[in-house]
Subunit: 190 residues, 2 copies
């Protein structure tokens, strides 16, 4: 579980998160972030490309974990995707609830950030589908397993960051996966 | 099944679709659209607000059909959402495959249009969840049924507009719903 490292990237991420919370995303400039981190704007742009990206640098690592977990499993497709998200919950999110809540409320404050979040999520899903197909699955099954697993993760995540939550994200993922299974199972009449 | 009506709204929508296809979305102005429809820019802005909206005026009707279908049913939640999308397929999409394909390729050509499509889809899902909750469902079940039904619709829709497709959208929805049920059902080992 990587903590904020005292490297340039980690310092800039932490400074961005602090400033976005203190002043708002719109009101914070890249120069502000660099100054807070004791670095210069050039370093920021070299590492992140743009201001928004300081909130999304975890997505590369997230994709890596998901794709690796899916590639290594021999579980059924939906179980494989759910297990991959559980791995992410354990390796990337555990012990970081406050950080994740803060990031979430910053993103919720800006349509521009929400758009980037949607695109990143779409790219992640596409990568998981590709990994499932590489396991020999047909495209439809791969897409349905990915989308259903992503739904489980989204709902579990929302429950996890809710103010009154005290379960772990990994446990919530299991709980929601079971609920989704019940909801989509054949109706009782049959 | 409403056809293009010879009213201002319908003429502007048809003109916009033609011009977006002929010249591209970016290259078409609101003035071009109004001229092609034999109307003025003011009329366009009064009816649509902005250029993008000429491609999304069907979404109000779509939401209306979905919400009504969900409100009236006593089926299990996932079945209710799937049946609502099937209703949309029959009332709004049947006999319009070429139009839908054209609209789809225009949207695929522009990130700006894709963003609006994503937001409209999000708003639709929220409305369906509210309608399910009004039926007395708890929030998690309502969200899981909505998201799973929306996944079925998305995958069926992609299959329907694919170049070599010849099934109806309604039949594809049933087919994909059955596939999703299989994918998310408990693994065989148990």
């Amino acid at each position: 579980m990587a903590r904020w490292q005292p490297d340039a990237r980690g310092r800039l991420e932490a400074a961005a998160l602090e400033l976005f919370r203190e002043r708002g995303f719109e009101e914070t400039t890249v120069a502000d972030i660099a100054t807070r981190a004791g670095l210069d704007k050039r370093t920021f742009y070299r590492l992140f490309g743009d201001k928004r990206e300081a909130l999304f640098s975890g997505s590369g690592r997230l994709e890596e974990i998901l794709v690796k977990a899916v590639a290594e499993t021999d579980a059924a497709p939906f179980e494989a995707v759910v297990a991959a998200f559980r791995r992410v919950a354990e390796d990337l999110f555990a012990d970081r609830l406050e950080l994740v809540r803060m990031r979430h409320s910053i993103i919720a404050s800006s349509p521009e950030l929400q758009e980037r979040e949607l695109r990143k999520t779409g790219a992640l899903a596409a990568a998981v589908t590709v990994a499932l197909r590489a396991n020999g699955l047909d495209e439809s099954t791969a897409i349905l397993a990915t989308e259903s697993g992503a739904t489980v993760f989204r709902v579990a995540y929302a429950r996890w960051i809710a103010p009154d939550s005290d379960a772990t994200l990994a446990d919530l993922i299991d709980e929601v996966a079971a609920e989704l299974r019940t909801v989509t199972s054949a109706p009782r009449e049959r």
